[in-house]
Symmetry: C2
Subunit: 334 residues, 2 copies
C-alpha cells in the first residue's frame, strides 16, 4: 500500500470558468481507517461541471456545503475498497462515491455511495460515464421528461459532452431524429460520424439559422445541458407540446445570466420545462444501468471518453470541461 496520498485542493474560488490555477496539489501520509471506516483506492476521478456550483463562497445547499478554500475538492470518484473496518464492505468491492479528488479516500460510508454490480457489466470506467451519473442523466431525462415519440425531433446541447453524447444516441434508439449543438467544425462533424446525430448545429456560427435548417419540423424535445441564451432561441422554435429537459446548466455556473424573455411561449405552445437530478433515483440505477450496458454490448451505443492520467492532471481535466475540449465523458485515471 502506498504510504502517501495526494489531493487536489481548492486554492481559490474560480471566477466564471475554472482554470488550473484555481487548484493546487498537496501530499500527506496516508492514514489508516479506524473502526467503522473503509479505505478506498481511487482508480478514476470523474469530472462533472455540476460541482463548479459549490465552489462559490455562498453556494451551500442541501446536497453539499460550499467547498472550503484550501481543502480537497469534492467530486465523484470510482475506487476499490482495499481495507475495510466497516461491517457492510469487504476488500475488492468497487464503489462510486461523492468524495474528494484524492488518490485514496477514507469514509465512514455515510457519504453518497453506489456499489458497482458484481460481476461488472462493463469495464470499471464506464460506471462514471455511460453507466454513471452522466449516462443515467441522459437516460432518465429522456425517458421521464423528454419522452420523444418516433419521428420527433430531439435537440441536445453540449452534444459532444458526457451527457449529450449519450442523450443523442438514446434519442436515436427511441426512433427520434437527433440534432446536436456543439462548438466548432471538428466536433460538429464528429457528433454525426461517431455518435450518429442526424445533424449538427455549430454554436460558433449563426445558431438561429442553423437551428432552423437542422430542425425543419421544429423542436419537440430540447435536452438542455447548457442553459443561458441558447434556451431562448430554442423556445422560439419549440413545437406545440414541446418538452424542455433541464439537465445541469453549465453556462450559468458562476455567472447569473438573464433568463429567456419568451417564457410566455410555454403557454401558447402548451410546452413544459422540468429539471431533475439523477442522484435521487439511486434505487433505479441497477435497471437503468443494465439497459445501457445491454445497448453497449449490442453495439447500439458507444461510450466516448476524454481521458487524462494522474492526479496532477485533474485541474487541467476539470478546466478542459468548461473550455469544451472534451469529447464524451471526462475522466482522470489514477
Amino acid at each position: 500500500m502506498a504510504a502517501e496520498n495526494t489531493s487536489v485542493l481548492l486554492a481559490r474560488r474560480p471566477s466564471g470558468a475554472p482554470v488550473p490555477e484555481d487548484f493546487s496539489l498537496a501530499t500527506e501520509p496516508l492514514r489508516k481507517p479506524v473502526d467503522g471506516q473503509l479505505l478506498l483506492k481511487n482508480h478514476f476521478i470523474s469530472l462533472d461541471a455540476g460541482f463548479r456550483n459549490w465552489m462559490d463562497e455562498d453556494s451551500g445547499d442541501e446536497v453539499l456545503p460550499a467547498m472550503p478554500l484550501g481543502e480537497p475538492v469534492m467530486g465523484l470518484v470510482l475506487g476499490e475498497v482495499i481495507d475495510s473496518r466497516h461491517p457492510d464492505f469487504t476488500a475488492g468491492t468497487w464503489l462510486m462515491a461523492r468524495l474528494a479528488w484524492q488518490e485514496y479516500s477514507i469514509t465512514d460510508a455515510t457519504d453518497f455511495l453506489i456499489r458497482l454490480p458484481e460481476p461488472l457489466e462493463a469495464e470499471p470506467a464506464a460506471y462514471l460515464g455511460l453507466l454513471g451519473d452522466t449516462g443515467l442523466s441522459a437516460y432518465f431525462g429522456l425517458r421521464d421528461i423528454g419522452r420523444p415519440a418516433a419521428g420527433e425531433t430531439v435537440l441536445v446541447s453540449a452534444a459532444a459532452g458526457a451527457v449529450g453524447s449519450v442523450a443523442g444516441q438514446i434519442a436515436k434508439i427511441m426512433g427520434a431524429r437527433a440534432v446536436g449543438i456543439t462548438s466548432g467544425a471538428v466536433k460538429s462533424q464528429k457528433i454525426v460520424s461517431e455518435l450518429g446525430y442526424d445533424a449538427a448545429v455549430d454554436r460558433t456560427g449563426d445558431v438561429q439559422a442553423e437551428l432552423l435548417a437542422a430542425c425543419p419540423n421544429g423542436i419537440d424535445v430540447y435536452f438542455d445541458n447548457v442553459g443561458g441564451p441558447l434556451l431562448e432561441l430554442v423556445i422560439d422554435q419549440l413545437n406545440e407540446g414541446g418538452r424542455v429537459v433541464l439537465c445541469g446548466a453549465v453556462s450559468t455556473y458562476g455567472a447569473e445570466q438573464p433568463g429567456p424573455k419568451n417564457l410566455f411561449q410555454l403557454v401558447t405552445k402548451q410546452a413544459s420545462m422540468a429539471g431533475f437530478l439523477t442522484h435521487t433515483r439511486a434505487e433505479e440505477y441497477p435497471e437503468a444501468r443494465s439497459q445501457l450496458a445491454r445497448w453497449l454490448e449490442e453495439g447500439k451505443i458507444v461510450a466516448p471518453e476524454y481521458r487524462l492520467e494522474g492526479i496532477e492532471s485533474v485541474p487541467q481535466a476539470f478546466s478542459d470541461l468548461f473550455a469544451g475540449r472534451n469529447f464524451g465523458k471526462t475522466i482522470v485515471a489514477l
Copy 2:
C-alpha cells in the same frame, strides 16, 4: 329585432397596457344570416387579457391572425341564437364563441363555438367566468399541472382576477394552503375574506419578505397568471419537486421582459414549469363544468364578477383588467 349592430373596433395598437382610447365604436345596420349562417344576440362580452396578444402588428399565430386596425376586436362572447339558417343550430341555443366584440354576431359556425348545456346548470354569465375559460383554466391547471397534495402550499398570482379567484378556491377544496398575490390592501383583505385564501401578499409592498412570511414552508405550486419578475422571486422559494403552472402572463403582454435568472434552480429543485391552453380541451368541458357547477351549488365556491353594462363600456372594462380594477371575472352585459 334591433335594426342596428354596434361593434368595438381596434382604433390603434395598444402600447403596453390597453387604454380606452385604443378602441372606437361603430354602428351599422344589422345584416341577416344567409344559408349556412346563424345570427347570435350577444348577451355578455367576456374580457380576457390573453386577447391583448393579438393586438400587436406581428402577432398572428395558429390560434388567431393579428387583429387588423379599424376592424371589430376579436374576443369571447356569450349569446343566444335568434335566427338560424344552419342545420345544426336552432333559435334559443346559448353559445360561447370566439367572435368579435359586437352586439350581434353572424357566423357560419366554423369559428370556435361551445354550446352551453341544456338545461343550464347556472345563470348564463357564469359560463364566461367560473364555468368558462377562466374557471376551467384554474381547474385544468391545478388538476393536471399543479396537482397540489393536501397540506401543500399553493401560491396564486393575480389572485383576485378571473382565473386566480377560482384557483385559490379550488386549491382549498383540494386541501392545500392557498396564498394569493394581489395589489393593494383592499384586494389583499378581500381575497382572504371573500375567496378564502389563507394569506395574501401585497404586490405593492416588499413582495420577497411578504412571500417568506406567508409561505413559511416554501411554495409547492405556483399558479402564475402574470409572468414577469415575480416568477424569479417565486423560484427562489420553490420547494423540491415544485410545479409552476403557467396560465397566461398578463405582465408580459406588449412588453418583452427579461426572464428569470434563476431557472437553474429548476434543476437543483427537480421542479417543473408547464404552460397550457384551455381551448384545446373542449371535449373535457362538460365534465369539468359540472364539477364546478356542483361546487357552486353546494356553496363550496363563489364566482365574483366585475360587471359593466352596455357595448360602449367594453373599452373601459378591457382597460380596467390591465389596471387591476376588477375583482373576479370581468364582463360586460349587453
